[in-house]
Subunit: 132 residues, 2 copies
DNA sequence: ACGATTATATCGCATTATACGATATAACGA
DNA sequence: TCGTTATATCGTATAATGCGATATAATCGT
């Protein structure tokens, strides 16, 4: 069962992911992903998740800010802390690099009945829920 | 509906993907992926898919062969052609970099009933099928 | 037969990505 | 005040990425 899900999962991503011409590095995508999924994330958290030193994480973030994909917010309570957030542009880049292509996904879904579409949505919601 | 599926899809991958300490580059993963999903793939095909020049693709493949993740097979009919295949080691590296972690996925599924598990498997098979 | 094409490979070179140690600054905590 | 925490910057090193130029061998078209 695990293997079937994994084969389908990778097949779906392989077939439906957007064609990306964007020049974006692997670590940049991982950082945008972290910022998107985690609330109140800081530089040191990114270093921890990515298993890199804090200064390297700081350099990465600097680049992402200057690219216009992230912005910083100083904490009110503790002025040392810097919370990171995605810009609209950053969200758009992240989507192109982690989500399924909307048009390709729509084309795939159109081959199914309404009942089948709903089954797929429910299944994704279910697995997403128990993954947390 | 598209947005719900995409949010769930990225959540599932974010929560369940393996923690990877392997030192492997982005392009290397993409090439292993291509070789895995496509039959009789050649250097020039990889260049085409990855939108890079054939000589760069050749260099990448050389590195992957020397890492023991790919091996080459000369075509019988046309001796110019070199088909690429994954080694066992290459397949293992690819899985760690694209699939969901077996243990994490199992833990998530264990929170569900047998009926719900089957619904998820059917939904993934369904979407995988219409994605081709 | 032979020039054109195809597929791969290699070399030289340039740029970007990735990372860390050392060091600095500012803010917080006891 | 002194130690700790969070971020930032500089210098430096190595790996990753990529392309043009060039080479070799096989195949194709006429």
């Amino acid at each position: 069962m695990i293997n079937v899900i994994n084969r389908c999962f990778t097949d779906i991503y392989f077939q439906l992911h957007p064609v990306q011409n964007d020049a974006i590095s692997h670590q940049s995508v991982r950082i945008l992903q972290l910022v998107h999924k985690k609330k109140y994330i800081m530089i040191r958290d990114i270093a921890e998740y990515l298993l890199i030193s804090h200064n390297t994480a700081s350099e990465h973030v600097k680049k992402l800010v200057s690219s216009g994909w992230l912005y910083k917010e100083r904490s009110e309570e503790d002025q040392r802390k810097v919370y990171l957030h995605l810009t609209q542009s950053g969200l758009s880049v992240l989507k192109k690099n982690t989500e399924l292509d909307e048009e390709k996904l729509q084309n795939a879904l159109n081959k199914l009945s309404d009942e089948e579409k709903m089954q797929i949505v429910r299944a994704f919601q279910l697995l997403s829920e128990v993954s947390k």
